[in-house]
Subunit: 251 residues, 2 copies
């Protein structure tokens, strides 16, 4: 390769404007405006490269691992990274424009999130959905953005296999004939529930649970029985336990 | 109350040395040297105040909520808080000196953690143990410190009801006659496991799982069946699912 051309390319691709653009993607409004989001770390970027996501740019310090990437120095990578300890790669990707149709709820389990705020919880729930083969997650408008860098990182690549949709959750639950099940603190014991092959499983906000409006529309309320003293379980842990319980009944 | 005395007390209690001491407790070596740790937030501090933990000081902006606290301004609280958004209270507590005896493993389920590094995961696992009524968690020497402020916060007060011990995990598993069960990616399907009333359930490191030495000593290896594409589950989610599975068999 001609080093002159390489240097030019490098200069062009990591202008201050590009760095500014990438750093601006910490905020949802900028991600929405540009239709772009970031992913970082070798495992996560590899999963996105092998997925249906549209890749805008890949910047890496190691072209042996990422031959298709634009070479950057560690210092340059640390200027664009959102991580405290940047890895060897950062990917810039297009936000997909999935459209959700209510018929997608039929014949399967769907996770619905009402006002879930913690990025780590959302990422972990996407990973749980991927583990149990759940295709779709629908999120109320108040949920943390799926393309928040912390969410993307904590999915560990599962975002490439699980479809997420921003929806009007109340409208969907009101309109669908598919049964809805809310995870609450005082509902039916999940261990006694019968097999469910189709349903919308709703998980609420970390502090306040499911909002009143969605709550009033639910067909069923389900609970993980407690025998100790904790007031509640972490939202992602509850989701994991309930998904496991649904899945164990299908085998 | 005499405002002169109050001011003196305040002056004495929030000297720069005190602030330095509290801020130094971010590091394990300083927590160990002083035998002190911090907790923050109304719910968490209240749980510690009603627990067996020995309280050194409580600093609060709101004496209506915490009448026993030393009054501080919001600005003063933000100087000693470890949180991005300080609440209304910070408690300074003594680290308890629990001793673990191998006989404590009998007739119950105990969680064992091998080289667990993420503070949020450890806190969440302590909360899971509290939910399912598990009394004791034993941690290998390489685990993140239980009194790390992020761990304490994410237990949401459950640390007041679950005993944690730093142990030589290999020695304990080698010596005990209680059966050990390691959570691994390729073991026996947990849904088919028989009822367990006594056992040490071992969870490993977030990236590398259970270490070789502990692994070679395990009596059983258990796995949450996967049907989707995720490579693994989050460590705390795995712990939640496995604890739920153990508990559902006892009812």
């Amino acid at each position: 390769m001609c080093s002159y051309i390489c240097k030019c390319k490098l200069y062009y691709l990591l202008t201050n404007n590009k760095i500014k653009l990438i750093n601006s993607l910490k905020l949802k409004k900028n991600r929405d405006a540009h239709g772009l989001f970031l992913c970082e770390g070798e495992k996560v970027v590899k999963e996105f490269l092998n997925s249906k996501f549209e890749i805008e740019d890949v910047f890496s310090t190691d072209l042996n691992v990422f031959p298709e990437a634009i070479k950057v120095s560690s210092k340059e990578l640390s200027r664009i990274s959102h991580l405290k300890t940047p890895g060897n790669v950062l990917g810039l990707l297009r936000i997909p424009q999935y459209k959700f149709d209510i018929s997608q709820l039929s014949d399967k389990i769907t996770i619905a999130l009402d006002n879930l705020k913690d990025p780590g919880n959302l990422g972990t729930i996407i990973r749980i959905a991927d583990w149990f083969g759940i295709e779709n997650i629908i999120c109320s408008a108040e949920c943390v953005d799926v393309y928040n860098p912390k969410v993307v990182q904590s999915t560990m690549g599962s975002l490439t296999r699980v479809n997420t949709y921003n929806v009007n959750l109340q409208e969907i639950i009101r309109q669908t004939t598919v049964k809805s099940y809310g995870a609450v603190l005082e509902g039916d014991n999940i261990y006694n529930a019968s097999k469910i092959n189709e349903g919308v499983i709703v998980f609420g906000n970390e502090s306040n649970g499911i909002g009143e409006e969605v709550m009033s529309l639910l067909d069923n309320k389900i609970t993980i029985p407690r025998i100790g003293g904790a007031e509640s379980l972490n939202a992602a842990v509850s989701a994991g336990i309930i998904c496991s319980e649904l899945f164990r009944k299908t085998i």
